[in-house]
């Protein structure tokens, strides 16, 4: 759990519907991006709707900092909560132009509260060229960007994104991700992102709230969520590690140094990714691309050989066939790297918690 939150977003709600019960009592810090992660039907959208004020089950309590949004007889209606909403399907108002959509909320925001303005939001989301189009002349990805911009232009106190990328194809998703990733850093607006896609969490979130069967099971920083071999994030696509660090300038081979000297990677620049030097970046490494050697091998093609200490060895969850072991390794800079090994190699190398070893990282991918 992160630091106790006295002025975060506190939600207490109990709700029963046919075949579904929601029971949540939690506090979410109001900074950065919090992912609300879980399978469909686990109640994350309902929770989001309660926070927004779209639903107000009796007895539920929602506090935003010191302000009671719902508590006893107090009920702040949706249009007074100053919450930016983006849903998965297009919600642009079809009778208005892009500009009309963007300004719908802006015009209704009291002037002293306006912190974001049309020009900068259009610029941030790449909408400047689209302003005079009609809403139905836009592609799916453009529509979601307009919806995001429209939500931002009320200068919201909180941004609620309900699977905003879900209806988009992979290509479009890839186009929008950088915009989303920039959002919270650039605007400082705390964001709650409902999603069931691990890659969105890995890329966008600072912390994750795991929901299961109507309950919020745990809320933890992304780093911790990725350091557990049994993390729900790994359930479908296998274990991954996400390393955070700074990217250095490219060397003569076109490789960028990443991370501190004691855990230094050299990574190629990927086309399309904006990996300018000297800025924080996230590196995604699949556990199955990581091997372990007890001594640093001299004559291998692998570039990234990182000294680590084995922290724990766990059976890989949900695996059929020969048993796979997830080795959670601690790098010398404190970050976690997970390697997927066979049980046979684990036994052969005599790996134990505390064993000093070297991680051989075969491939890495940039997240932003």
């Amino acid at each position: 759990m992160s630091q106790p939150v006295s002025n975060g977003l506190r939600i207490k709600a109990r709700l029963e519907r046919s075949g579904f019960a929601l029971d949540v009592d939690t506090a979410i810090p109001l900074e950065g991006v919090t992912a609300l992660f879980g399978r469909s039907g686990c109640g994350k959208t309902t929770l989001l709707r309660i926070i927004a004020g779209l639903e107000h089950p009796p007895g539920a309590e929602v506090h935003f900092g010191d302000t009671a949004w719902q508590c006893g007889k107090t009920l702040v209606p949706l249009h007074r909560r100053r919450v930016g909403l983006v849903f998965q399907e297009s919600t642009l108002l079809p009778h208005l132009s892009v500009r009309g959509n963007l300004l719908y909320g802006y015009k209704r925001t009291p002037e002293p509260l306006r912190r974001l303005h049309l020009d900068e939001v259009a610029d941030l989301l790449g909408l400047t060229e689209l302003l005079d189009r009609r809403a139905d002349q836009l592609s799916g990805g453009q529509r979601q960007r307009v919806a995001l911009g429209r939500a931002l232009l009320i200068s919201p106190d909180l941004l609620l994104l309900d699977e905003p990328l879900n209806a988009l194809d992979t290509q479009t998703k890839r186009e929008i991700m950088p915009f989303l990733a920039r959002l919270s850093d650039r605007t400082g607006i705390p964001t709650l992102l409902v999603t069931h896609a691990p890659d969105e969490v890995e890329r966008l979130a600072h912390r994750v709230a795991f929901m299961h069967d109507g309950q919020l099971e745990r809320l933890e920083p992304l780093r911790d969520a990725l350091a557990r071999a049994d993390s729900p994030l790994f359930r479908d696509e296998g274990a991954v590690s996400v390393l955070q660090g700074e990217l250095g300038p490219a060397d003569t081979h076109g490789l960028h140094p990443f991370g501190p000297p004691e855990a230094r990677y050299r990574v190629p620049s990927t086309p399309g990714a904006t990996n300018g030097a000297g800025r924080p970046a996230r590196l995604r490494i699949e556990a199955r691309d990581v091997s372990i050697a007890l001594s640093p091998p001299q004559d291998v093609s692998i570039l990234n050989i990182i000294p680590v200490t084995i922290e724990s060895l766990d059976e890989a969850p949900g695996h059929h066939g020969p048993a796979r072991i997830l080795a959670t390794c601690r790098q010398q800079d404190g970050q976690t790297l997970i390697a997927e090994l066979t049980r046979l190699s684990t036994e052969r190398l005599g790996l134990q918690p505390g064993t000093r070893a070297h991680a051989l990282v075969k491939s890495v991918a940039f997240l932003d």
Binding site: P77, H79, R81, L85, I154
Partner: protein
């Protein structure tokens, strides 16, 4: 052939006045009812009851509706006698009386297209508008109304056209007082009863052409909006 008598003109005036007032009143009344039916969070039983009540005029013989309204609004009825006690007139055989009757009688024709339009619209657009700071009325005029334009056009047309064709209810409640309650449909009946077929024909043909033109124009406009079709 196309000479109209002063009585004919009076009937035309009463009919148009009745149809226009009825339509305006219905748009005001039917909109919240249709919204509630389409989006209400009331228990299912209550909704079904209201839905059935609204649809009643579709199946009841107009004479039944007219009869009960006569009983209700007439001098001995609860509404009529209350009005008389307040020093006002009862409503049987008055323009106000047949206006009330028309509103009730055409209610389903206004409610159903609107309900359909609102159901198609769903809650999302108003939720979004709400999150963007629009209050209830603001949301209605800037989101619901423009997005359900087709439904409103159909509702208004049907209410208007249906009032033009009203007969039984008015006959029961209004009689045929020229300038007050004698509408075209009744006057045509009177002309035919009096074997004055030429006069009946003039008005009937006029009404037929008028109704067709109104419907044609409205559907032609509505095709562009494409939200609700009947």
């Amino acid at each position: 052939m196309f000479e109209l008598s002063p009585t004919d003109w009076m009937a035309i005036e009463v009919t148009l006045k009745l149809a226009i007032y009825t339509t305006l009143i219905l748009l005001v009344i039917a909109t919240p009812i249709a919204w509630w039916l389409a989006n209400g969070r009331a228990p299912g039983g209550l909704r079904t009851t209201v839905q059935a009540l609204v649809a009643l005029p579709l199946v009841l013989p107009p004479t039944v509706l007219g009869f009960y309204l006569l009983v209700l609004l007439g001098p001995a009825g609860p509404v009529g006698s209350t009005l008389e006690n307040m020093g006002l007139n009862h409503l049987a055989f008055t323009f106000q009386g047949i206006l009330i009757a028309s509103v009730i009688y055409s209610l389903p024709f206004a409610v159903q297209p609107l309900q359909q339009a609102f159901a198609n619209l769903g809650r999302r657009p108003t939720e979004i508008a709400g999150s963007l700071g629009a209050g209830r009325m603001d949301r209605f005029f800037t989101v619901v109304l423009p997005m359900s334009r087709g439904g409103f056009i159909v509702a208004a047309t049907l209410a208007f056209a249906h009032t033009l064709g009203e007969f039984g209810v008015i006959l029961m409640l209004g009689g045929a007082i020229p300038g007050e309650t004698q509408v075209l449909s009744i006057l045509i009946y009177d002309h035919a009863e009096a074997m004055n077929f030429d006069a009946a024909h003039r008005l009937s043909l006029g009404l037929l052409v008028f109704a067709f033109v109104v419907l044609f124009v409205v559907y032609a406009i509505n095709r562009r909006f494409d939200t609700v079709r009947l």
